[in-house]
């Protein structure tokens, strides 16, 4: 019967309860979406493989490296495979259609990135066609591309029109694999550069290597950088994770601000629910005095108030979590090109639950203390 009492008390003032539940739901929704946004920022870091290292120009990522380094890198002890990739920065029709596109060495690249899953026939078609490209499933769905379609990319870093034929559509092996990228032949880029901008030809943005043992990463990185020390293009080798983290660090202040906003939202809703609980319990103080009169002890009274707070918060939390999924889907429609992976993580769900329970506990704390310490005769009012 006490269960019934919890629910009946929680929704005794229907409008107030509904508004409070709605408030909690909105807070949980906002918290979940902001946390997912932060996770999306780190998606590249999460997807990084432990046995892959990235080699870039020691001065800056904007400087390229000679393609001739490839064989020297391959010769370093502990290096199992080498590939390279160059940020192309092409635009598809309009700037707002932004997506990542890279010129890669197709075979070694696909070998090095098994998380990009491509049907065998599409893989061989891509390898054979110098003007071919592969696009992620998300990208293909977004623009309605099919295998065989011609995609006209407009160069920004490398000016001109760059038409290429979709030879394959890859799927991500893992949930964290980005399916919104496009890869094409570095040879296609390089042959045009040789014709027009010879100084920019035969260079790549970065090398990616696979090492035999992930534990050897520092030693291999040191060995690679040592090879090119005192050269015109010194290298900086780091793990793929550290490389990705470097991008995230650039926007650390924004991430911090988002995290702060998440916490402020939880703080605000905590105050709102606490206020609701305080009002609700104060209005019914004489009822709690009746319970005390009848012999109900601290444990029972605490359970009644905390339970009531939990009913409201859990109802709001469940609604908020349920709304987070469709809300993220809608958000992905708008920012999917920047944040392709917007899946709510189990950690975020647990944080949602933790936030809900914390809000319920904090909101109930003051009313519980008040009810437990009030004298029965004072609360019943008319005694003496």
């Amino acid at each position: 019967m006490l269960w019934k009492l919890l629910f009946r008390n929680a929704f005794r003032h229907t409008l107030r309860a509904v508004l409070t539940v709605f408030g909690v739901a909105v807070a949980v929704l906002a918290f979940g979406m902001l946390s997912t946004l932060v996770d999306a920022w780190y998606a590249g870091v999460s997807a990084a493989a432990a046995n892959r290292l990235v080699i870039r120009h020691a001065i800056s990522l904007t400087f390229s490296l000679p393609i001739a380094y490839m064989e020297k890198i391959r010769a370093v002890d502990g290096v199992k495979a080498v590939s390279h990739m160059t940020w192309f920065g092409g635009i598809y029709i309009d700037r707002k259609n932004f997506f990542a596109n890279f010129a890669v060495d197709p075979k070694s690249f696909l070998d090095l990135y098994p998380e990009f899953v491509l049907p065998e026939d599409q893989r061989s078609a891509f390898l054979k066609d110098r003007r071919g490209c592969v696009a992620g499933r998300g990208l293909a769905e977004r623009f309605g591309w099919k295998v065989g379609d011609t995609v006209p990319l407009q160069g920004t870093i490398y000016s001109g029109d760059w038409p290429m034929v979709v030879r394959g559509i890859y799927q991500g092996r893992d949930k964290s694999t980005d399916e919104n990228q496009l890869f094409f032949h570095w040879d296609y880029l390089n042959e045009r550069l040789k014709e027009r901008y010879l100084r920019r030809a035969n260079r790549t943005g970065l090398f990616v290597i696979e090492i035999t043992h992930a534990d050897d990463a520092p030693a291999v990185a040191g060995a690679v950088d040592a090879v090119f020390k005192n050269s015109l293009a010194e290298t900086l080798t780091e793990t793929e994770r550290a490389f990705q983290l470097g991008f995230v660090t650039m926007s650390e202040a924004i991430l911090m601000a988002i995290r702060m906003v998440s916490l402020v939202i939880i703080g605000i809703i905590m105050a709102v629910v606490a206020n609701t609980m305080i009002m609700s319990v104060r209005e019914r103080m004489h009822e709690f005095a009746i319970f005390k009169t009848l012999g109900y002890r601290a444990f029972h009274l605490t359970s009644l108030i905390l339970g009531e707070s939990l009913v409201v918060c859990v109802a709001g939390g469940a609604l908020g979590i349920a709304c987070t999924f469709p809300a993220l889907k809608i958000l992905t429609g708008y920012v999917g090109n920047i944040f392709p992976i917007m899946d709510i993580s189990p950690t975020t769900l647990w944080l949602d639950v933790l936030a809900v329970v914390t809000v319920a506990l904090v909101a109930a704390a003051f009313p519980i203390q008040k009810v437990l310490t009030v004298r029965i005769v004072d609360a019943l009012g008319r005694m003496a």
Partner: protein
């Protein structure tokens, strides 16, 4: 007061005062009183005489500054708050002027409330509740919420709640104060029956001389002191 019945409430030299700022207001001064088992006692007195305070002390809702109160042989001043709560649940039935029912619970659920704290099974609880609601003639109102009941019916639910644990004593604070004459008469007749036929010890605070006449014993309090004792057999009072 019958001398053959055992003493159920034994009050010795209790005092009680309240503090309002720096001011100490004495409410009860050196009160000694005994109440026998099955006695129906009315405490009368003007407002502020301390009668409700005395009732609260007997019921374990408040604590005396000094003196002892033994109810059913238990020195309730020696009990901790938790023990006192358990003792109240087991030994005291409460009837209030404004019924003090929980508005979101039905009559049945209100009466069941004290039984939640017992070891009785759900089925046993339901049987007890049905029995006691039958006793107050409210079998057909079990599923009604307090707002759906008249004042007299609500007070009968409160009486049922007070009796459902079969307590040692029943304390009633102005039980007819909020009722019309007919409903008040019903409640008083019922309380009289409780004492006479079921042997319940009832301590009632009242302003109403008509209500007091239903009691077997009437005590007057004035300015915190038991002024006199008017004792009489019930038939003579009716």
């Amino acid at each position: 007061m019958s001398t053959t019945r055992p003493i159920i409430v034994d009050i010795r030299n209790i005092t009680k005062s309240y503090r309002r700022g720096n001011q100490v207001i004495p409410v009860l001064e050196d009160i000694s009183l005994t109440i026998a088992a099955s006695e129906f006692l009315a405490l009368m007195g003007p407002s502020g005489s301390g009668k409700s305070t005395l009732l609260n002390l007997i019921a374990g809702l408040d604590r005396a500054d000094s003196g002892t109160i033994r109810v059913g042989g238990v020195d309730i001043a020696a009990l901790s708050e938790t023990q006192l709560a358990a003792w109240r649940a087991a030994h005291v039935g409460f009837i209030f002027q404004f019924y003090n029912l929980i508005p979101v619970l039905t009559a049945f659920e209100n009466v069941e409330l004290p039984l939640i704290l017992t070891d009785l099974s759900r089925r046993e609880r339901r049987e007890h509740v049905r029995t006691v609601l039958g006793l107050v003639n409210l079998q057909d109102r079990m599923d009604h919420y307090p707002r759906q009941l008249s004042g007299g019916q609500q007070q009968r639910v409160a009486i049922a709640r007070a009796l459902v644990t079969d307590p040692t004593i029943v304390v009633a604070d102005e039980p007819t104060g909020d009722l019309d004459r007919a409903a008040a008469e019903d409640v008083l007749v019922f309380m009289e029956r409780l004492s006479r036929e079921l042997g319940k010890t009832i301590i009632m605070v009242t302003h109403d001389p008509r209500a007091a006449r239903r009691a077997a014993t009437v005590k007057h309090l004035d300015k915190g002191v038991l002024a006199n004792a008017l004792e009489a057999a019930v038939p003579e009072r009716v």
